[in-house]
Amino acid sequence: MLSVDNLKSGYGRIEALHGVSIEVAAGEIVTLVGANGAGKTTLLRAISGVQTISAGRISFEGRSIESIPAHARVALGIAQVPEGRQLFAPLSVEDNLKLGAWNRRRGHSGNDIHRVYELFPMLRELRRTAAGALSGGQQQLLAIGRALMARPRLLLLDEPSMGLAPILVDQILNVVLDLKHNGLTVLLVEQNARAALAIADRGYVLETGAITASGRAAEIQRDKRVREAYLGV
């Protein structure tokens, strides 16, 4: 479904990704684990089109998308839940969700909002509250809801567990599993490698801008080097 081939990107003169290749097949949860600063967020930003790339190819459902602007990639079916939520803080919960359906603004988003409220009932109660006033966990649910409003086929999730209590982390990862069972493909970036590998089908290890290991989630969990570096055993 998604194929990233030899992607290079950076900030100014500093290269953050030195030729990264990954594949995500339809219906999978693929996780990308790695330390802070390894380039995970840069890779997701590049896939969404908000990060310029210097070399390499990105194709989605067989179509080359490097030259397609970010907003049009959402219409193709790629939505992202960015690191740190990045909600529209002064706008209400409901407005955040409505804007999530921007690429379908001529149609009605009412049913989709209803579905998100069914998935996360607490958002319905808070629908008139400014997004910036929500707790961290509520904000994360809203960020996921907003991304789902675009009706994506591929969901890019960047550090959904960041700054959340362990019980919320489990809740959010369960939501991700549910989404997968409903046919959504997920590329999940996490520093919490143990939790991410527990729900993923396959995984990649990204270290200082290059893929250093890949395979089935279970294999990666058994990999000695990965265990020492990321799982703390």
């Binding site: 960015p82 909600l87 803080a89």
Partner: protein, 290 residues
Amino acid sequence: MAEFLQFVFSGITVGAIYALVAIGFTLIYNASDVVNFAQGEFVMLGAMGTVFLGHAGVPLLLAGVVAVLITTVVGLALYRWAIVPAREADAVTLIIITIGASIFLRGVAEVVFDKGFHSLPALLGSNPIRLGGATILPQSLVVLAGAFFIMVLLWAFIDRTLFGKAVRAIAANRVAARLVGINTRIVVGASFALSAAIGAIAGILITPITLTSYNGGTLLALKGFAAIMLGGIGSAVGAVVGGILLGLLEAFAAGYVSASYKDAVGFLVILAVLFVMPRGLFGKATVERV
């Protein structure tokens, strides 16, 4: 007392125009982080365009509509050919670009129009209305009504429509706006167009009272800038309150001190705000939880 009331009337009238200029600044600043010093030229183009189309025999109402449309196109062109190519530039560079655009538009206006001062006939005639010992021009009421109408429409657009919410979304978080699929170029371009149209209408409304000329926009831009500094940059309420307060301060300074110091008030306000309360009256206290 009658004197005081007189200053209030003239202060509020001019202040309403400053408020419209300040709203134009705010709209563009929120959507693009650009402080657009060509905002005053939008005001001038609306006024001068109407005057000269009128001279060419176009009925004044139609002339006004066409002048607003032309100014809107100029606003779009400014965004497309001066701001978009420099989108990676820092704030100071962007400010210098808009100052350059302002000088360019003034130069073009000097060539296309002329160097003279021009007026437009007042919409409701020019017999002053007596009110509590003071007088008010009927055109002042037109200015106030027009400004009020524009602000209500703008509020409805920004607060009630999805497109308006997209403008606010971009102001709140530009990258997130792109990630939800908003074509930021179109929305920011629309903000420039809207801002230009508001400026042009302000110019047409005020010309029967203050006259217009090719370089009449420069000072207005500086006054509008003083108004947003006073009100708090980025705040729409601040732009309106700042504009009207500045108009009143100027009127009182001109009346009680000396008319020659009137234009200095705006700059004193900028200095005072920077020294005492750099965020202005309604400056954003950003609330964000991470």
